[in-house]
């Protein structure tokens, strides 16, 4: 199944804004989908889709900040660029504290918005890449035998083979064999690499 291309999702209750943003983003070749309300966006939201959200902060019904909260509750990683007609500093700070990547005031220069959207899309790509990598590391870890997992645990604690052999009550040679299998299954080319992978695997999503 082919993944849909990264899309700019525009949520704004003002139809004129939606139309002009759609035209602007299309003109630079970015796929766009527009929504007239936060609820409308939330109803069709698919966390698996790549892209970024361009979100009006003040809207009737659910506000932009409330939508951000809902998305955070769903562990969304989609970067948000807020746009506002009459924002103030506390509002901008709140949005940023809640994880927005940017906050821009109207009127803005088209190029300025496009730059920020591109930066948000870049961030989305990076984060999706990291998530994929983490999934892959976890997949590899799940293929280790219980004994290999124990060895992995002790090796990444920095323990020497001799110490591990003592801990597990096996010969040093056995530890060496397990250790080699762990390195191979994990695709690690050094101990440092292995440690990084374990840290990555334990990171929260």
């Amino acid at each position: 199944m082919k993944e849909k291309p990264a899309t700019v999702f525009v949520v704004d209750d003002d139809e004129a804004v939606r139309t002009s943003l759609r035209l602007l983003l299309k003109s630079v070749g970015l796929p766009v989908e527009t929504f007239a309300s936060a609820q409308e966006f939330l109803d069709q939201f698919d966390p698996g889709r790549a892209g970024c959200l361009v979100l009006d902060i003040r809207m009737p019904g659910m506000s932009g900040l409330e939508l951000q909260q809902h998305l955070n509750d769903r562990h969304s990683i989609m970067p948000i660029v807020f746009i506002t007609g009459h924002g103030d500093v506390p509002m901008a700070v709140e949005a940023m504290q809640a994880g927005a990547v940017d906050f821009i005031q109207k009127p803005f220069r088209d190029q300025d918005l496009i730059d920020r959207i591109n930066r948000a899309l870049e961030k989305d790509r990076e984060m999706r890449g990291e998530l994929r990598e983490r999934d892959e590391i976890r997949r590899r870890m799940s293929q280790l035998t219980p004994r290999e997992r124990e060895v992995l645990e002790l090796v990444t604690q920095g323990k020497a083979n001799k110490v591990i052999a003592g801990d597990l009550n096996v010969s040093q040679r056995t530890v060496e064999i397990h250790r080699a299998r762990v390195m191979e299954k994990m695709g690690a080319n050094s101990l440092a690499h292995l440690v990084r992978m374990v840290i990555e695997a334990h990171r929260e999503d």
Binding site: D88, V89, A92, V93, M96, Q97, D102, F103
Partner: protein, 139 residues
Amino acid sequence: MPADLENNDDRGVSTVFIVDPDEAMTRHLAELLSALGAEVQVFTTAAAMLDAPGPAPACVISELELPDMSGIELIAALRSRQVRSPVILLAADGEIATAVKAMRAGALDFIEKPHVDRLLAWHVGRLLEHVTPGDRSQG
């Protein structure tokens, strides 16, 4: 390189650094935060703070416009020295664009002067409570 601000976990438990050339402001903030149990150290320039000996503080509160650099640059300077203390910026004329830049740079908060007391007290109270549980001053 001088071994100034160190990055260690045993960090300045209840120390709060205030960086602001405005003496009236720092005196006021020092009083406010001392009452919350913070050990306050005041600096008038970024350089003086960056050269301060001892462990990293629990929190840094800095004016946005310092004589030798901006508060946003100060965050970068701290991070490049591996100092992870949270930084709160205070600004006299806060602009949205500047606030957004500060938050992107990793500020914990960006508060507009002069009404900074309530939020600062809240942040510092929280940060200190984290290190010394149950030692929160009442009232």
